[in-house]
């Protein structure tokens, strides 16, 4: 028998260590220490009801356990085999206790559709993919449906593009299918450029065939015989696995001529990105594939009308494609039943930042940010206070406490001033200065703007300069007004999605953290203590014993004072490196 105790940070904070100790003692008292092991585990993702103790092999799930409960668990459950009723979870809707964690619907917040094979199969072996019904969706559409019927299934499923925009996938296919041409193309956008997002990489590395299969299905639907995957050169492993997968699929006849003995032929090639975020935008991506500068161009014409080499082209992102085979196999109704009214299915998020369980998760649309961050994500690192979560990367915005219970879907995120984006979710805590965060994103946009249109090329630079002034304490209240006006104009006038969304981090922080901006501008203070120019290191004369450690370690000799007498920092010389504070053994130095 095993007693599993959640050792996730959340539960640890509520004394799971002590519970473990107590359990061990109680077991020893009953001389059961050899038969029953106490194991600390990773986070159960149910931190709200922690600490959690799970008993194996019967899967009993105890919640909100205290050290005092240890004796009872051992005595009743371990020795006598009787469950401790009062610690069992009560289903809030049914008001019945649930004993087996396998039956706890809420416990399994995640649902894996796009990631269905990631971590299950060997991505370099097509057999394992086939063993999990791989390529059956392709076989099914080729032999049982005509292209329009297939498109109708995708349309009916409610699948929307996972790359950021959320355009209905079925409709996109339909438009491309209706533009007649001698040659059309299916393009997979694997230029995952959002800093802090790695969903597509994981899918390509873990389940490349699902993307190949879906591209072939799309090719059948729109009448294309060629597929191209535009992938970041920074993803060597994903490239390698895609190459292996393409070779294997060709060998099996699942790519190439007359697939499944039908008239349909389809093959896939790789194209490499070369480090330009803007190439995630579909017109820029197409230019890049043509060997040109990855500048975006005005739409219309849309790629579905005139795309790669001027031919009708359908561009979808990796995750969108990965959803297609299960939809075909399990039916549109099944997919439609998952998610919210207007956003169907699941979404993969890359959880990162100041969160305990950094990782890749896939959740049904409609889950709340709170569930994602505090349950699946295990809460904020080091027990700090949650401040904001940034979704949608440089195009998105920062959401706060007040948005925690908003169900996540395309439209709600936009309404809240952010966007789904490709699925990066960066969690920030009380130590993060929101002005600096906005500046960080603008720095990114300035560097990644293609430079073609003036609002994005110059406007973002000006936004960055304004934010920089504010973080240096040089900003004025007028600057805040300018920030807002400029942001709106950039959004309103920029040529492509990059510029149309790049001010979002500014606008959302202005909306949600206006006070923090004002603190920088009026009080010349950074409430999170992040903005160096606004910091002051001060020596408390009461606490300073005059050991001279600070003065000796100051790289710019800004500290003076006699031995055994309180020292002082010359603020005009200080470069705010913090070395003095690190060296002070008497906690005499603080930041003001």
């Amino acid at each position: 028998m095993h007693l599993l105790i959640c050792g996730g940070t959340g539960c640890k904070a509520s004394s799971s260590d002590a519970i473990a100790e107590k359990l061990k003692l109680e077991l020893a008292a009953n001389t059961l220490q050899d038969e029953v092991q106490v194991i600390l585990t990773g986070c159960f993702g149910f931190c709200e009801k922690g600490p959690i103790v799970k008993v194996l092999p019967d899967n009993t799930f105890y919640i909100q356990v205290t050290p005092e409960d240890a004796a009872e668990i051992v005595k009743e459950h371990v020795v006598k085999g009787r469950k401790v009723e009062r610690l069992l979870y009560v289903d809030p809707t049914k008001k019945t206790t649930i004993e087996d964690s396998k039956h706890m619907g809420f416990y399994r917040k995640q649902m894996r559709i796009a990631l269905r094979n990631c971590g299950f199969i060997n991505p370099e072996n097509i057999d394992e993919y086939i063993a999990r019904e791989g390529y059956q969706a392709l076989g099914k559409v080729l032999t049982e449906y005509n292209p329009q019927q297939t498109i109708d299934i995708i349309k009916k499923s409610g699948l929307r593009g996972r790359g950021g925009g959320g355009f209905p996938t079925g409709l996109k296919w339909e438009i491309a299918s209706k533009n007649p041409a001698d040659q059309k193309y299916v393009v997979c956008n694997a230029d995952e450029g959002d800093p802090g997002a790695f969903m597509d990489r994981s899918i390509l590395e873990g389940d490349p065939h699902s993307v190949l299969e879906a591209m072939a299905i799309c090719g059948y639907c729109i009448g294309a015989s060629k597929g191209l995957i535009y992938i970041r050169a920074e993803y060597p492993l994903a490239i390698k696995r895609l190459k292996v997968a393409i070779d294997q699929a060709r060998e099996y006849g699942l790519l190439g001529n007359n697939i499944f003995g039908t008239e349909f032929s389809f093959d896939i090639e790789l194209r490499y990105g070369a480090g330009a975020f803007v190439c995630g935008e579909e017109t820029a991506l197409i230019h890049s594939m043509e060997g040109l500068r990855g500048e975006s161009s005005n739409k219309p014409p849309y790629p579905a009308q005139s795309g790669y080499l001027g031919k009708p082209t359908n561009v979808n992102n990796v995750e969108t494609f990965a959803n297609v085979p299960p939809i075909i196999l399990k039916g549109a109704d099944w997919y439609f039943s998952i998610g919210t009214e207007k956003s169907k299915g699941t979404k993969v998020f890359a959880l990162a930042g100041k969160i305990n369980n950094v990782g890749l998760i896939e959740v049904p649309m409609g889950i709340t940010l709170r569930e994602v961050i505090f349950e699946i994500g295990g809460g904020i690192k080091n027990g700090k206070r949650f401040k904001a979560v940034q979704t949608g990367g440089p195009s998105g915005g920062c959401l706060t406490e007040k948005h925690l219970d908003t169900p996540i879907d395309f439209d709600n995120l936009v309404a809240a001033g952010s966007m789904m984006g490709s699925g990066g979710m960066i969690v920030m805590d009380e130590d993060d200065c929101m002005v600096s965060v906005a500046k960080f994103y603008l720095d990114f946009t300035v560097e990644e703007s293609c430079g073609k249109c003036s609002p994005c090329r110059i406007g973002n630079k000006r936004l960055y300069e304004l934010l920089d002034r504010i973080t240096k304490g040089e900003g004025t209240m007028e600057d805040l007004e300018r920030l807002r006006n400029l942001s709106q104009v950039i959004k309103d006038t920029s040529l492509c999605g990059l510029g149309q969304t790049s001010p979002n981090p500014v606008l959302s922080t202005l909306d949600n953290f206006y006070d923090e901006y004002v603190a920088h501008v009026v009080d010349k203070k950074c409430p999170s203590g992040q903005c160096k120019s606004l910091m002051k290191y001060i020596i408390d004369p009461e606490a300073c014993v005059g050991c001279t450690a600070c003065a000796r370690n100051c790289p710019v000799n800004a500290i003076s004072g006699e031995r055994k007498k309180p020292h002082e920092i010359n603020q005009s010389i200080c470069i705010k490196c913090g070395a003095c504070m690190d060296k002070c053994k008497f906690d005499a130095i603080s930041i003001k």
């Binding site: 006849g253 299960p326 369980n357």
Partner: protein, 132 residues
């Protein structure tokens, strides 16, 4: 390998492959085998999954344990990389996080040999579409 010529071919293939994968190459019933998957995506490899995989291959062989070690993609627990999944005969798979060679050694000695769990288990917290 013969080419897939029809959907029926593919379905047949799926059945045999599934059986074959269960059997693995050693031709033994799956129930008798220890199956280990190592998450080998970029983050896993960056945190040392390759070493762990090599270690497992070598040590299991040395210690005479009949096991199959394969690579797989990202399991999603990036915070706990490297992660491995161990499936003992007749047991549910268990995922271990923060696996270095030392931990791998512990897993072999305690869990694989004796069925004793060790610290660092990551509870599976998602629903897979197969159950639906």
């Amino acid at each position: 390998m013969t080419k897939v010529k029809s959907l029926a071919d593919l379905k047949k293939m799926k059945e045999t492959l599934q059986a074959k994968i269960d059997l693995r190459e050693k031709g033994e019933a799956a129930e008798n085998l220890v199956q280990i998957k190592v998450a080998m995506a970029t983050c896993g490899i960056a945190s040392g999954a390759k070493n762990v995989m090599d270690f497992l291959l070598e040590e299991l062989e040395k210690r005479g344990i009949n096991a199959v070690v394969t690579q797989t993609g990202c399991m999603g627990y990036c915070y706990a990389e490297p992660t491995i999944e161990v499936k003992l005969p007749n047991a549910d798979p268990v995922v271990f996080g923060y696996v270095d060679t030392k931990k791998a050694d512990e897993i072999i000695e305690k869990y694989i040999k004796n069925g004793e769990l060790v610290d660092g288990i990551i509870p599976v917290n998602y629903e897979s579409i197969d159950n639906k």
